[in-house]
Symmetry: C2
Subunit: 199 residues, 2 copies
DNA sequence: TTAGTTAGTTATTGATTACTTACTAGGGGA
DNA sequence: TCCCCTAGTAAGTAATCAATAACTAACTAA
């Protein structure tokens, strides 16, 4: 079936992401992608001049999805503690919906192969970290989070929580919901971070 | 230079680990390894019947190193809080010394390709988690760690801390010492976990 | 109706992969 | 000294990879 170039490009990108999760990013060959979609291998190169540019489009899609999820999560939320929770929850949600992301971070296409993509990903993750840090600092200023630690360290602990949950889920049997277990652990960590009222 | 088979095998395994870190696990071809050592590619197959068995030896070496590090760290340490710290510190140390480990967890050789290796790695990591969990429970019984969370969740937080530190270091510029920053963050998390004396 | 555009195919390329076969050299033990 | 085991080499193999070339069918606008 003949599709428009835009639709086909989007289909290729999403197929690459699916297959990257299923068989690993480096196993995603042009032939495998084409077969999965129902095209010939050569047809891919009508939409993307090289495989590297195909991976570039995939990376752009992923970083765009992340940014959109953060923006949506923070939409109209002003309470710093709620913003922290919303950010982490959004991150967990995107990873759960796009399980190839953790593997992608370590794939050769985004690290060894393409230094630009590696930089783009790192920059995006540092934006996440800085946003987290700022809201934590605000919560500390309100006396809602303990000042026993720096906002930077608290942000590291929270982003580590996401990464740990993602790793366990990606490597595990994937029976449980990553989002649920991640959010449950987030609640535990936030309770530790909150200033205790008891004596 | 002609070496004994045992020495050569060990040299091949350690070379694979080094190159896996430098260029990524899937980029480690038999040709690249042979060239790095100064042998012909065919010589590798005199020591390992297939590349899969070579990766098996690498995985065995890594899991063995981890187990040895844990044992050494816990040697003669009975205080549960100290054991927790020693375990996490040992884990950070091994990863810092063998930086290919995080990438290895997501490589096709240990996930898609070889289901046995994947299982071996997961089992080893769950042993780490259970040891951590037991010592945390002991520390809680002593009233040294808050009972606000389950030992399981606390262990998840600590292993996530290691994984997060490893990821940031592996993907980052690697200017700082992973072990130092990891240990510093460990202190922060342990302080949050410890029962507070103030009111 | 027709001419141009574009998504698609078939067939093939050179490079690289893991792996094999047949041969060689070198060192230690008798 | 001689011999034999073994680490190593030279020269290939089939399979698979990304990419290219030449061609075709389908859609669109004039």
């Amino acid at each position: 079936m003949r599709k428009s170039a835009d639709l086909r490009k989007a289909e290729i990108v999403s197929t690459v992401l699916e297959m990257a999760d299923q068989i690993g990013p480096d196993r995603v060959t042009t032939n495998a992608v084409a077969k999965q979609i129902g095209l010939t291998q050569a047809a891919l190169f009508r939409h993307f001049p090289s495989k590297a540019e195909l991976w570039g489009a995939v990376a752009e899609h992923v970083t765009g999805t992340l940014a959109a999820a953060w923006e949506a999560a923070l939409e109209g939320v002003s309470d710093p503690l709620e913003r922290v929770r919303a950010l982490v929850a959004a991150q967990l949600g995107v990873i759960a919906h796009t399980p190839a992301i953790p593997m992608l971070l370590f794939s050769r296409e985004l690290t060894t192969e393409n230094e630009v993509l590696r930089g783009a990903f790192r920059e995006r993750l540092s934006v996440f970290h800085e946003t987290l840090e700022a809201d934590i600092a605000a919560a500390q200023a309100q006396g809602r989070i303990t000042v026993d630690l720096t906002p930077r360290d608290a942000a590291y602990l929270l982003s580590s929580l996401v990464q740990g949950a993602a790793i366990r889920w990606a490597l595990g049997p994937r029976t449980t919901s990553m989002e649920e277990t991640g959010l449950a652990l987030l609640d535990v960590q936030l309770r530790l971070l909150e200033c205790r009222k008891d004596g």
